[in-house]
């Protein structure tokens, strides 16, 4: 179980980071609520 835990966490983290990074340029939340975006993801000129 322990053997699979780390790769699983890496996979979830990668997918989550992909969703988070695409959220900076496009609206992911087609449903009518979105969580608060962290400061580091807010794009500035």
């Amino acid at each position: 179980m322990k053997r699979f835990l780390k790769p699983l966490m890496i996979l979830i983290s990668t997918l989550a980071l992909f969703i988070a990074s695409t959220s900076t340029t496009a609206c992911w939340a087609w449903a009518i609520r979105e969580p608060k975006m962290p400061e580091s993801l807010i794009k500035r000129d």
């Binding site: 992911w28 087609w30 969580p35 500035r44």
Partner: protein, 223 residues
């Protein structure tokens, strides 16, 4: 220690009380990730937490609405509504509900409302033209409409999203005209109308949200 509202034991109880269900689950998963992968920075963990919360907040509602559409035997029409509404919302964004319990019924009524209105009302070319002209004007004036949760601060990004919103509405208009006289045409028109209403400042006022947060932030930085 990463700062995702869950770390301090003293503050935990209070914060969890106001936290929504997706954030609670994402917090737990992020803590498990932090325990397993100890080389992740605080910033990255906050981003992972946000990504998981965004996924959960959307997916379980969407799964429910998809199943409901299948049970109501309107899945093919719902899919047209979902894609047209979502394509425009991706770039134009719009108002969001503050709480999970208001989001669920509102999302369901919007998607099924578009579907049923499109199925039952046949719109002629004059109405379609009129709706698209109004919606295009709304996109030119108000898109992209951000929120306090996800402010669009970059001017370049806002300009790009406005252009993309206008292109998307033109593509949807072309499809609506191509499929004129069918239910597809009416569904696309209602999807565009609903999404356009969601970017109006008056809708933000009614929902108790603030319109143009990103513009305000970028203006303050310039001063």
């Amino acid at each position: 220690m990463f700062n995702i509202k869950l770390v301090s034991k003293s503050g935990k109880k209070k914060k969890v009380g106001i936290m929504e269900f997706p954030e609670r689950i994402s917090g737990k998963i992020t803590r498990a990730i932090a325990a397993e992968l100890d080389d992740l920075s605080e910033e990255k963990l906050a981003e992972i937490d946000y990504g998981i919360a965004a996924f959960i907040a959307n997916s379980y509602k969407m799964a429910f609405i998809f199943i409901l559409a299948i049970l109501l035997n309107v899945f093919q029409y719902f899919l047209i509504a979902f894609v047209s509404f979502g394509a425009l919302r991706t770039f134009a964004s719009g108002v969001h509900a503050k709480r999970e319990w208001t989001c669920f019924p509102v999302s369901t009524s919007i998607f099924l409302g578009i579907t049923y209105l499109g199925i039952n009302l046949d719109l002629n070319i004059y109405i379609i033209n009129f709706v698209f002209i109004l919606c295009f004007a709304a996109m030119l004036r108000y898109a992209p409409a951000d929120t306090e949760e996800r402010p669009l601060v970059s001017r370049k990004l806002r300009k790009k999203l406005k252009i993309m919103s206008c292109i998307t509405i033109l593509v949807l208009y072309a499809i609506a005209l191509y499929s004129l006289g069918t239910k597809t045409s009416s569904i696309i028109t209602f999807a565009v109308l609903f999404e356009s209403v969601l970017i109006l400042p008056v809708t933000y006022k009614l929902a108790g949200s603030m319109y143009g947060v990103g513009i305000k932030i970028s203006n303050k930085r310039e001063v």
